[in-house]
């Protein structure tokens, strides 16, 4: 019966979709709409937009946009090529990636562990929550000078800044998740006769995974931001240093090239986490 219902629902949706396309008046833009309806068409459209913007940028640079500020796509591309050809980029890329990655791992592990500890022990949470809230509301960037004094201008101060930033994100995501689970599923399990240990094992630990993963995904961006900020403030290597150094020389091509490298790193890392999330949380539809 239920199957039949689903089937008829599908048919209604299909019929509605057909009716809509029938009602739509045929215009001269029809071919464009059909093109964008396909994934390949959308991709082509997106490439076209990027190409158009780059063309305007390239053409306008030195004409109606001052070259010294906006540089030009060809200059930025040339700069990128030169960095990779002479190999100078690798030192900086390695510095930023290692600071971001180490801080990310340390911050995530500690944040998840603290979130679990607070979430699973209401007594501990009641005692510590005002301190945690106070530290959370503190802008972590303000701590950067402290880390520099304390840990020097090397990679350690950047790792610390990244770790602190990521730590609170994961702590709060884990804690929020546990609270939410407590309200809904845990009480249902308690009524069935589950003991606290069983609730933790069957409900809270598997149930909090979506919250942890969304924290991990968001934290990638923050990790790169914190690492680069640390390098901008003080340092002698890293993409942030490269950008800062280029700015000091009025070299806008260098700035844009550095930003471009960062965007690629951040997007790639986020994609990796998102893939892992999809694989682990395969039950989500």
């Amino acid at each position: 019966m239920t199957l039949a219902t689903r089937d008829s629902e599908d048919r209604i949706i299909l019929a509605a979709a057909l009716a809509r396309t029938d009602l739509r008046p045929a215009t001269r833009m029809q071919w464009l709409r059909e093109l964008f309806a396909r994934p390949a068409g959308r991709l082509a459209g997106q490439i076209a937009i990027v190409a158009l913007l780059l063309a305007i940028w390239q053409f306008g640079s030195g004409r109606f946009l001052p070259h010294v500020w906006v540089s030009s796509p060809s200059a930025i591309f040339a700069r990128l090529i030169s960095w990779f050809v002479d190999g100078s980029i690798w030192i900086h890329l390695a510095a930023t990636l290692s600071a971001a990655a180490s801080g990310y791992v340390i911050g995530s592990v500690a944040g998840i562990a603290s979130g679990l500890a607070l979430g699973l022990s209401p007594r501990l949470e009641r005692i510590l929550s005002p301190f945690v809230t106070a530290l959370y509301s503190l802008p972590k960037v303000a701590l950067a000078p402290f880390f520099v004094i304390f840990l020097g201008i090397g990679v350690e101060s950047k790792i610390a800044l990244v770790a602190v930033t990521v730590y609170f994100l994961l702590l709060y995501n884990t804690l929020d998740g546990l609270h939410d689970l407590e309200r809904s599923w845990a009480s249902a399990y308690r009524i069935m006769g589950a003991r606290q240990q069983e609730i933790i094992r069957h409900v809270l630990l598997p149930g909090v995974m979506p919250w942890i993963f969304s924290g991990l995904r968001i934290a990638v961006r923050y990790a790169f931001t914190a690492a680069v900020l640390g390098e901008l403030i003080a340092g002698n290597e890293g993409i942030g240093f490269l950008i800062e150094n280029s700015a000091g020389n009025y070299n806008s091509a260098g700035i844009f090239a550095g930003v471009f490298v960062l965007v690629i790193c951040s997007v790639t890392a986020t994609q990796i986490i998102a893939r892992a999330e999809k694989a682990v949380l395969h039950w989500r539809t």
Binding site: M1, T2, L3, T5, R6, S184, W185, S187, A188, Y189, R190, I191, M192, G193, A194, R195, E198, H202, V203, P206, G207, M209, L281, W283, R284, T285
Partner: protein, 263 residues
């Protein structure tokens, strides 16, 4: 043994909110026999759900005494199954695993082969064959209710506590579930306490309907439903006796509902 399976002796419940004491339920007496299907209707906040929570052992009465099977309820009552309007299936476990989850707990530990047998029986009983490996997110609202029902029935509790279990379903699906609940619960075998806002649902299903007054809740009237069983839930609304009962109880209920809205 006092004879009745569930016995409420002058129980009341007062909640502390900020510095105010709010009385949700004024002292109430009620006896429920084994095999009774009792529906509680009344405005929101009249203590219907509070009684269910006390029978389940989740809440203690502020005053009075509550007996289950002759013994006072002073801990979690493992003889009851509880089903609420809220969907509490674990989304990361399949239909099979969700239904079997009560049997994995220490208090009802069941060997795997026996557990799988029982799960199969339950899936047949609620008509979910073919959906064993599906996740709750892939099921319709009605099917999720069936899984919840199977999860509650798998450990064969004597008493079912149902707090607006079909409140989120559309009117037609509700009727289908009423038909199912009559068949599955096997009227006369399980004791059922059924909280609802829907007077028609209460009359169609129950042996007795208890109407509560608005807060602080107290029993206003208890009415036996003398409609013959088995009942055809799809057509019972057209029976003259149903209409009479509905009118009579609605007259009791409507003043309370109005009061409930005013405050």
């Amino acid at each position: 043994m006092t004879g009745s399976l569930i016995k409420l002796e002058g129980i009341s419940k007062t909640f502390q909110r900020d510095s105010n004491a709010i009385m949700a339920l004024s002292p109430t007496d009620l006896s429920i026999e084994r095999g009774d299907f009792v529906a509680f209707v009344g405005p929101s906040g009249c203590g219907k759900s509070t009684i269910l929570n006390m029978v389940a052992g989740l809440l203690r009465p502020s005053e009075g005494r509550l007996f289950y099977g002759g013994a006072p309820v002073d801990d979690l009552n493992l003889h009851v199954g509880y089903m609420t309007q809220k969907d509490t299936l674990l989304p990361w476990r399949t239909v099979t695993d969700n239904i079997g989850s009560p049997l994995e707990l220490a208090c009802r530990k069941t060997p795997k082969t026996e557990r799988m047998d029982k799960i199969r029986q339950m899936i047949d009983l609620v008509g979910l064959g073919g959906f064993e490996k599906h996740y709750p997110g892939e099921l319709s609202g009605g099917m999720r209710r069936r899984v919840a029902l199977a999860r509650m029935l798998i450990y064969n509790p004597d008493t079912l506590l149902m707090d607006e279990p079909f409140g989120a379903l559309d009117a037609q699906l509700k009727l289908v579930m009423h038909d199912e609940i009559q068949r599955i619960v096997g009227i006369g075998q399980k004791t059922v306490l059924f909280v609802t806002h829907d007077l028609g649902e209460a009359i169609a299903l129950a042996d007795r309907v208890v109407v509560f007054s608005s807060r602080p809740g107290r029993i206003k009237v208890i009415r036996s439903v003398d409609l013959p069983r088995p009942r055809d839930v799809f057509r019972i609304r057209f029976a003259p006796r149903f209409t009479e009962l509905h009118e009579e109880l609605w007259d009791q209920l409507k003043d309370e509902v109005k009061k409930g809205v005013d405050t």
